[in-house]
Symmetry: C2
Subunit: 353 residues, 2 copies
DNA sequence: CTGAAAGCGCTAACAC
DNA sequence: GTGTTAGCGCTTTCAG
């Protein structure tokens, strides 16, 4: 690791001059040719600033704390972390991730992160809901991902559940389905109700009426299977919008029991939470991906702009000349998320589209 | 954040004395009563050491770098990260996680981690295989998780695939199955072959013969379903050991098509990679969990012991009086992993059991 | 325009 | 036993 001191000696200037130059604050303070020599020398010696040392003076570490719950039991966080990390990397930041179960654990982790001098926090939740911030989090900038902070004072990025429900139903309409069922979740979680509203809206927009017989909100296992069976018996659907891939499973089993094939006899669109079906069912099941990567990406951008007190133009990468990557390299079309900020709840930038 | 300086002033001693005391290196160097006063004052003021500042002198940050691939597309890493993080927290370390796709990305991430002064690396892979270490990683302590480093010079922790195959088959035997099928993966990946050997060994140990007709190694989708269908037709199994839960899916569909029920007509044991079935099938499917959490936990312990140049007794938590948690709180019995080190390949501590 | 000097919080020689 | 001193790599006044 070469230091500023070494560059200074090699160039025959002082460390302070080197500091100014390598931080790009030499305009009108250092003679251009000297600055150039310093820059060249720094490059030649492969200089990398030591963020820890500079943090001692500035108390900015360029480290973001990423807090998420129960990473262990669901794959949800992977995408968010990836997105956040990509954004952080472009902006010259690092991510320290911690995952927590329970509030005691959470508090301790937050304290630890503060000791390491993180500049701000990303607070990610497992599923979209209304959430309160841990007390300990209030002293530094925070952005919430995959959930909505209750008071609206903290920027939150969450899936656009309405659009998800709307688009899923739209696809089934386009596939020519006549009787489109909604297989939802029994729990009255946020996403459940809003996706259902999107489903209804899409049907209305197409001039169809919403038949309550076509709706089943089910839980797990045998009970869920029975619920789907009853739905099929009473309403003879030919298309299914499934709240998630776990629900899609029951439709599959119902089809298998009747000797019917998805993709031929029935159409199914599911929201993919777990990704297992990507392996088993890809060509047969139409999935809508939750915009995890995107949420992580924009949450990190937002957080950095909060930290640095300046708006980052999310359309281009700051501090670098490289162009922004497509929002989601794997699936550039799945951009269903929204940013909620105080005073912006009405005018939500629908990212992408 | 209170500093040593503040404690020193409040107690009327010098910072160096405070430093000695709070680092527990005051034995025979600081008068006990002074030490006690310092400790009390530190506690009263809620002193937390600033690890970044001390790293400037010691070049030890108490940060571990965690490198994993493709977190985004599989949930595997969650458990490893959780385990590593828990161990790190007990040992007073933090984890910086980065995930990478491709070697260029990997190199850049490693460089970035080095700039942040990580003390060592955890190198986690998506599935169990033989792996080479990136060049950039060789200058610091490394432990490999969920894979095996080729030369054997780097400690590696990986699932005990043989034991997994053996135990899974054992459970089917105990359930009274007469014709136990193996539904494997088409790819000749490491785990595939070894789990199959475990399967064979368990059958042999029970005095059963291995019927090749009971084995199907399948890929995805229709082809996989056909493979399982053919297996069922030709060999009439009543028990299935499935390489992973994706494979178990095809057995479920085959059962549904025949009006058979898992848990009544057929027994199924699957290795759970994706965890989706935990939600849909929990009471019906017997799963063997890969020991992700445990691998992460012990990998981090091992890494810290490498860094600090001393053996940590893995049976008790160093630097804290709190007892070790059960290896996996959720499922304390699933301890199927092994530590490989140079000169220890023969005598593998089978963790737990 | 440039450099000397002080200091961020902490550690480690070395005096006293 | 304890305090003084110097310095880790960097930023930031402030003289010159």
């Amino acid at each position: 690791m070469t230091t500023m001191k070494e560059i200074a000696q090699a160039t025959g200037v002082s460390v302070s001059t080197v500091s100014l130059v390598v931080n790009g604050r030499d305009q009108g303070r250092v003679k251009p040719d000297i600055a150039e020599r310093v820059r060249a020398q720094a490059k030649r010696m492969g200089y990398q600033p030591n963020p820890l040392a500079s943090s001692l003076r500035t108390s900015h570490t360029r480290i973001l704390g990423f807090i998420s719950e129960e990473v262990a039991t669901t794959p949800y966080a992977g995408g968010i972390i990836m997105g956040a990390q990509d954004a952080a990397a472009r902006l010259g930041y690092m991510l320290i991730t911690v995952s927590t179960d329970g509030v005691a654990e959470e508090g301790r982790q937050i304290t630890a992160l503060k000791r390491y001098g993180v500049d701000g926090f990303l607070y990610a939740k497992m599923y979209n809901r209304i959430t309160d911030l841990p007390r300990a989090l209030t002293t530094l900038p925070v952005v919430v991902a995959n959930a909505r902070e209750r008071t609206g004072r903290v920027p939150s990025i969450s899936p656009d559940e309405f659009q998800i429900g709307f688009d899923a139903t739209q696809r089934l309409l386009e596939a020519g389905c006549q009787r489109i069922a909604y297989v939802g979740d029994q729990d009255p979680i946020l996403a459940q109700g809003i996706r259902f509203k999107g489903y209804q809206a899409a049907l209305k927009a197409a001039g169809r009426r919403c038949d309550p017989a076509l709706v089943a909100n089910v839980g797990f296992n045998q009970q869920a299977l029975n619920g789907v069976e009853a739905l099929v018996e009473r309403a003879s659907p030919d298309g299914f919008f499934c709240f998630n891939d776990a629900r899609a499973w029951y439709v599959y089993e119902a089809a298998a029991r009747r000797g019917l094939a998805i993709g031929r006899d029935w159409s199914v669109v599911g929201v993919d939470n777990h990704r297992v079906f990507a392996e088993t069912l890809a060509p047969r099941l139409t999935t809508i991906e939750l915009p995890h990567y995107e949420m992580g990406y924009w949450a990190a951008c937002k957080l950095v702009s909060l930290i640095e007190g300046r708006e980052l133009d999310p359309a281009r990468a700051p501090d670098t000349t490289a162009p922004l990557p497509p929002l989601n390299a794997a699936n550039p079309t799945s951009i269903h998320c929204q940013l909620l900020e105080k005073d912006s709840v009405a005018a939500q930038p629908r990212l992408g589209e």
